[in-house]
Subunit: 325 residues, 2 copies
């Protein structure tokens, strides 16, 4: 029986590709640069050519391949295997990804959103520890996520389930989100939101702060600098991280009170702040959790880093084709 | 092939029982009083005797029965078919419901929480219109609910998914909930919460209000009186309904932003206020919804009333036994 999967994690700069054994063991990995010129029309052909070459190079028998799984930015129609609105790829209108791969390889092909496949990867091989129900929150430039229930991804009726960045964590806030509304989790817990909060609080804070001094001298700051300042006891840095942790805790409490998952897995660039952030989130979340759920829901760091997407892309093939139980 | 199901919707005063055709058509309905004395030990035997008598009375061939489905208050272990913490039944510790029914009838038996089966009933035969993903919120003495994703109930890892009453909709509120924490949706949108808000606002409102006058004269009020006052333009009544609708809208927005369901179905006694309440909820929810989801998520009234539980109890048998596709 087929025992390996071709997995693709497509991003704006490059695609990570891999042969993955059905049990999750990574066999060979490589990357393909993403060329998004001319409405991204070179992206899929480049992936197909590269995979064909690797099948040759590693002398893989096609009968050993269970299928191809791919995670992509944008809004995915899982049934139709199409994607649109992947702006960093210049894929604005529907792209017939499934058709292209199925024609090229005559193998089963499955497509899902990149935040979703990362959640599935963590559930299968990472921080989710194969618990049947987990939620992953990805804190990057924006805030995204994915929901796994009974080992399956939740998509919702229009493929938008897991848009945790746009939970309104503060209906009274004036903090604008890129989506056009106010008080979104993304406005407080994304890398962008954290920097915006620094702008907001620097003029309102009277305590001395080296971070504030840097900003007033015109230095460009990023979220890592804010976390580093906070770790050094900087008043402005601590104020920002406190706000970020508060809203993240409230958002986590909503997810736990609604879904009763086994784990909330926190990933993405901002999560590199590690337990310095998560300890604050855990501490604050308790007050907002339904008491019987307080001990049931662990908030943990993601474990797989960049490999979550590749492994999740492999697992969507396993789940659909029954490759690994 | 078996074409009917025995469905039970157990409540604190009585159990509704029915023979239901696998397509959802109700054949015969009756009720059995709930005798919760002596730790509720008479409840299950009374149900079993009554069902046996009805099988005789209607001359039902046991081969025509696909199985027995039951909704119950309390915390259900779906796999073990046990329930505990059903305080209105005096079922504090684990009750072996499945064992008792399976021994008595030698038929497949399935058990789930009453709020869950009501959600499934509405999804199958009511306001959910068989959309694969819906959420139901029940506004009664408390606030409960159920989640249906891909036509299946979501239970979470400890059976507590759907505890919407304990979403913290206002982390800065002092309004206590029965669960021990503050700012729960239940404190603003349950019948109890609505009456408590009347107590809270009556001393803070300076406008004239017949409702306030009644309360000051010592009259006992209930949530229906508050809605009726609001419908007549009473300032206190309107203030309370406005708060209730605001928090309910925020809670609905969380559910929609997280799960992207086809419908949010609002049921329970408080929902009898109808569109007077729901129009306010819909209007307020928009501001908190991720813009691409604004047109996708309808907030609607439940349609099945008391029959939701019976039909949902039947549908859990269908889903498990493949009785109706």
């Amino acid at each position: 029986m087929a025992n390996q999967i071709i997995a693709i994690d497509l991003g704006g700069t490059s695609a990570k590709c891999a042969f993955v054994r059905c049990d999750g063991h990574l066999l060979h990995q490589w990357t393909v640069p993403t060329d998004n010129r001319e409405k991204g029309r070179f992206i899929v052909p480049a992936l197909i050519d590269s995979i064909k070459a690797k099948i040759e190079e590693y002398k893989v028998d096609k009968h050993d391949i269970l299928g191809i799984g791919m995670g992509t930015p944008g809004t995915v129609n899982v049934a139709k295997k199409t994607v649109k609105g992947a702006y960093n790829l210049n894929w604005i209108e529907d792209q017939e990804i499934g058709q292209a791969f199925e024609q090229a390889f005559n193998l089963p092909f499955y497509l899902d959103n990149d935040a979703n496949v990362a959640a599935l990867g963590e559930q299968w091989q990472g921080a989710g520890q194969q618990m049947k129900d987990i939620v992953m929150i990805t804190l990057g430039t924006g805030v995204g996520g994915g929901i796994v229930i009974d080992n399956q991804l939740v998509h919702g009726i229009s493929g938008a389930a897991g848009e945790f960045g746009h939970i309104t964590v503060d209906p009274h806030s004036d903090q604008m989100c890129t989506c056009g509304k106010k008080g979104c989790l993304e406005a407080f817990a994304s890398a962008t939101g954290i920097v915006n909060m620094a702008e907001y609080f620097k003029d309102r804070l009277t305590s001395p702060s080296p971070l504030k001094t840097k900003m007033e001298a015109g230095e460009t700051i990023d979220s890592k600098m804010i976390f580093d300042a906070a770790k050094n006891g900087d008043a402005l840095g601590l104020k920002i991280i406190d706000q970020c942790a508060f809203y993240l805790a409230l958002g986590c409490s909503h997810l736990i009170n609604i879904l009763n998952p086994g784990k909330i897995v926190i990933g993405g660039g901002v999560s590199q702040a590690g337990d310095f952030l998560l300890d604050r989130v855990r501490e604050k979340a308790d007050a907002y959790l339904f008491p019987p759920l307080r001990e049931k829901a662990e908030i943990v760091l993601a474990q797989l880093g960049n490999e979550a997407g590749i492994l999740g892309a492999a697992q969507i093939v396993n789940l659909a084709e029954g490759g690994y139980e």
